[in-house]
């Protein structure tokens, strides 16, 4: 089973940061990476990201599923950009240096290649940070940190509960599906028509929904009996006060974001243009 929100416990400086710090850093960092097209900054950020990854002591093998998934997505995205607007780079940089022609309108230009290099760098700058956040933040701390940055605690808690129940529901789905197979339900792909397949999916989902409703009722009662939803605010057992590394991390990310804004003025736009 692939766990989407896969918290990996380790002892590392990154794990020690509070959830709120990590969430804030993630948001600021991504903002910085998303808005800028300054290649110099974009070249530095992946290097920093991979250094952070190393510091977190998360092994590549533990997160490789997520890595490959986003990697494939990145390649696909690049192919699509080229397919639909092969001249995007020349429009942005205002010059056209033809390298070679593939066929018809698909001409490879240095500008296009440079533009797509920026796209790749953006991916490389953000992917490791997102994965880092996911694998170093305890889901309950995640709820606490959502609440800390202003999301209502009820919503924050529903998110964290939902994340928590994903493995349980996966297990239950498996149990129900095998017991339905024992009654002759075919779930293998390709053996039958789409309509039949949809029908058998309903046969598995119906019991799953009924038993999930039971589960929701129990947990909702248990939470209310212990005073959940009483006040507008609550505290968190797992929240930790900000320490020096927290402030430093946030400050660092803010500097990155400021840098990205400053570069806009230096470059006279979002793009750093080496073709002038």
């Amino acid at each position: 089973m692939i766990n989407i929100f896969n918290y990996i416990e380790r002892k590392s400086p990154i794990h020690k940061l509070t959830g709120a710090t990590k969430l804030l850093c993630l948001l600021i960092w991504s903002l910085a990476a998303m808005t800028t097209f300054d290649t110099r900054l974009l070249a530095v950020m992946p290097i920093l990201a991979f250094i952070l990854f190393f510091v977190s002591r998360i092994k590549f093998s533990e997160v490789k599923v997520m890595f490959w998934f986003t990697f494939v997505f990145m390649i696909l995205n690049n192919l699509l950009i080229f397919l639909f607007s092969p001249e995007h780079g020349t429009e942005i940089y205002g010059s056209r240096t033809v390298l070679f022609t593939i066929f018809w309108r698909y001409v490879v230009t240095s500008e296009q290649l440079f533009y797509q290099l920026n796209v790749v760098l953006k991916y490389l700058a953000t992917i490791p940070i997102v994965i880092l956040f996911v694998s170093t933040t305890d889901p309950s701390e995640f709820a606490a940190s959502l609440n800390r940055i202003g999301v209502s605690y009820k919503i924050a808690y529903s998110v964290s509960l939902a994340l928590r129940y994903i493995p349980d529901i996966q297990r239950e789905y498996h149990d129900i599906s095998v017991s339905q197979q024992a009654r002759g339900l075919e779930i293998a792909l390709g053996k039958q028509s789409l309509i039949k397949r949809l029908k058998s999916a309903v046969d598995i989902l119906f019991p799953l929904i009924v038993s999930s409703m039971d589960r929701i009722e129990i947990i909702a009662n248990a939470m209310e009996l212990r005073g959940f939803g009483k006040d507008k605010k609550r505290t968190w057992y797992n929240s930790r006060p900000f320490a020096v590394p927290d402030y430093l991390s946030i400050a660092f990310c803010v500097i990155l974001a400021l840098l990205s804004i400053c570069l806009r003025f230096v470059d006279g736009g979002r793009y750093f243009n080496p073709f002038i």
């Binding site: 149990d175 002759g184 799953l208 038993s211 009996l225 212990r226 005073g227 006040d231 609550r234």
Partner: protein, 567 residues
Amino acid sequence: MIEFRDFGFRYTSQSEPTLHNINLKIRQGEKILICGPSGCGKSTLAHCINGLIPSSYSGEATGELILDGKSFKDQNIFSLSKFVGTVLQDSDGQFIGLTVGEDIAFALENDRTGREEMHRRVEEVSKKVGIGGSFLTHAPHELSGGQKQRVALAGVMVDRVKVLLFDEPLANLDPATGKTTIELIDEIHKSTDTTVIIIEHRLEDVLYRDVDRVVLMSEGRIISDSTPAELLSSNLLIKHGIREPLYIAALKYAGVRITPQMRPQRVDTLVLTEEDKKKVRSWFENLSIENEKINDEIILSAEKINFRYPDKERLVLKDLDFSLHKGEMMAVVGKNGAGKSTFSKLICGFEKPSSGCLKLNGRDLSELSIKERADHIGYVMQNPNQMISKPMIREEVSLALVLKSSLTHEEIDKKVDEVLKICGLYPFRNWPVSALSFGQKKRVTIASILSMNPEVIILDEPTAGQDFRHYTEIMEFLKELNERGITIVLITHDMHLMLEYCSRAVIFADGEVVADKRSEEVLTEPTIVEKACLKKTSLSDLATMCYIEDDTAFIRRFILADRGERR
């Protein structure tokens, strides 16, 4: 502290009231057991005390209910949560936090308690229930059933409540854990001046430690409110569908009159005169029993089965040998995580053994798919809601036949009618499944398995959470199926069930079979009892008390007499 005055309650969704004329006073520091069959209104009563009524379930109340000195009308679930702490039946479902510490702190978090104080109080209360220290960082799935219950208890005690309310605390626990739970509740009651209210229909297990009063409910009314000794001396329990403690039933069969002076509330406080003992002995000696023959023909066997889940280190099953005789009704018992359910999954082909061989009628099962095995072996899951996928009974029962598609409409209808009749569901055949009770739903799931004509049926905890009447109903039905020639395997925690209905029991502990014996022999062997987290029955104690050496024979005779009595 809690007082019901002519209290009545009707749920909005129902036309008849669930509670009538309740008059009940509970004083500070008392320990009270509320018992009664399913549907008697005991859970509704609990919901009125903890505020789930009207917060989660709406309805109309009459009369007065005073909680913590105030009328229930001026209270709500949040103000009540400071007064009464509820430990729910399902200790899995009520685990909210991701770690033990966080879960215990949940109420404090909602109270906006500061971090420091929160951690201090969590530590303090977790020590009280015996799960302190490193346990606090454990995740729920790393805990045993008993530990989860301790966490749940700590989670309400942390609020410094005056009343602890336990809603069927024994329902999902193995016998030994149930026993420690009752001990724990007793210790907490004695060391604090908390009022304790236990709602449970398993009377004997709760009475293992003293309670002040037992309130017996039936059909929404309070039938009696007395000391356990007085209640056991009456005939009210049987009349209202609660199982009497086994030693009490045995004494009654032997013709001994139970009086409160005998201190019958616990087997270890019981005082019997020599004359009483003689009565028991002569009852025992006069009963004749013939040895049931066990069929030698083996229908299902397992040889040297090993199993581990993919990417897990631990072996769930180790070198397991097992054999099932044709036509028998067998119990598979052992504590949670001992490998019972995994083993049944291997038999049905839901999982594949890492090594070893399974045979059905001498034929290797490994070449058969899940579907093919299902023609011979049926599996009934514990929760019927997990199996029922059609809204109408008839559709549900015919599902497997329709999917087979080699049968004509007439053949299917004929088979379904036949199965529905066997299961006593024929009058309901066109009803929606949602209109059925739990026991009836269970029958529907059994019927849908029966439609495939299996030779063996495996049932996972068929009677979990059921009261005596429903338990008897389900079990007598299974017994009937068994008499029709279907071999039945029951995975269970229930020692009564094993003793009463199964000739043989296989005991699992840590992935191995530690015993394979006649059911009544299992409970008289201390080493097995301990290994498999079982509990010896009070009948053994009674036998010893009456100078009967062969307690196995005593248990057998009792079971025979008991079954005869109930038919």
